[in-house]
Symmetry: C2
Subunit: 152 residues, 2 copies
């Protein structure tokens, strides 16, 4: 059992987010880590680069992790992402049955976990991961703020 | 301008759904059609075959259509699907800015349009397509019912 701290994993997600931003995509990054502490997949937002409206960091990380594990359910894994997931990604996280979701910045406008559709709070939601928000919140939010300021 | 009727397009989606069912996946199919009447993409549920929890028919059709059009926004297109989309797919439909969503069977348990998260009704939802439900509802629902009965 490796001892990865939440902030250490979030720093990996932040590096993915930074790479996305340098490439012109909104800087959001994600990491899937097994409960044993192994990194199963990385993901970064590629919506602009791929011209794909579904290419959020979480979606790409989930798909890559499912391929890596060889299973559609990631019950023995946690998903880390620099920004509160939207409703699309939150529902994908529920389908994948992650043990835990850890995110950095809160997203009152686009979020679907603590805001908006609040996917995991729906009575019909198939699975509710443990949710931890605000890990390295300042760094994750600052990266987004700087990105949008530079583009105004 | 071709004159494709909604039921004609839904029959294409039903053929995709049937193919999914024959391959052991829950029989759901989707079609993206341009407002000019051209089929831009087909999609069928591949969750079991691909071991990918995000591989819903709509997600695959949206990604294929975005590649086909070369743009992340499908404002001049409609999405047809045999089953009411879940919250993940509904949010993807909003991101892609489809003009219209047409679906067959209603899904009180897993749907995210007329049920559950009701994605398009959220004040923060970025885009609300026109929604038409119940096209070939009987055929679409029967296909699912038979699939699950045979597996019990």
């Amino acid at each position: 059992m490796k001892t990865l701290k939440p902030a250490d994993v979030m720093r990996l997600a932040l590096a993915e987010a930074e790479a996305a931003g340098r490439a012109g995509d909104v800087p959001v990054g994600a990491v899937v880590v097994s409960t044993a502490g192994d990194v199963l997949a990385l993901g970064q937002n590629r919506v602009e680069r791929d011209g794909d409206p579904t290419a959020h960091a979480e979606m790409l990380a989930i798909r890559a992790a499912a391929v890596s594990v060889g299973a559609k359910r990631l019950t023995e894994a946690d998903l880390y992402v620099t920004l509160e997931p939207c409703a699309m990604c939150a529902q994908a996280i529920a389908f994948a049955r992650f043990r835990r979701l850890v995110f950095g910045a809160y997203d009152p406008k686009g979020g679907g976990v603590e805001h908006g559709a609040r996917i995991f709070e729906r009575p019909t939601c198939n699975h509710r991961p443990e949710v931890v928000g605000g890990v390295l919140e300042g760094d994750c939010a600052a990266l987004l703020k700087t990105f949008f300021q530079e583009r105004r």
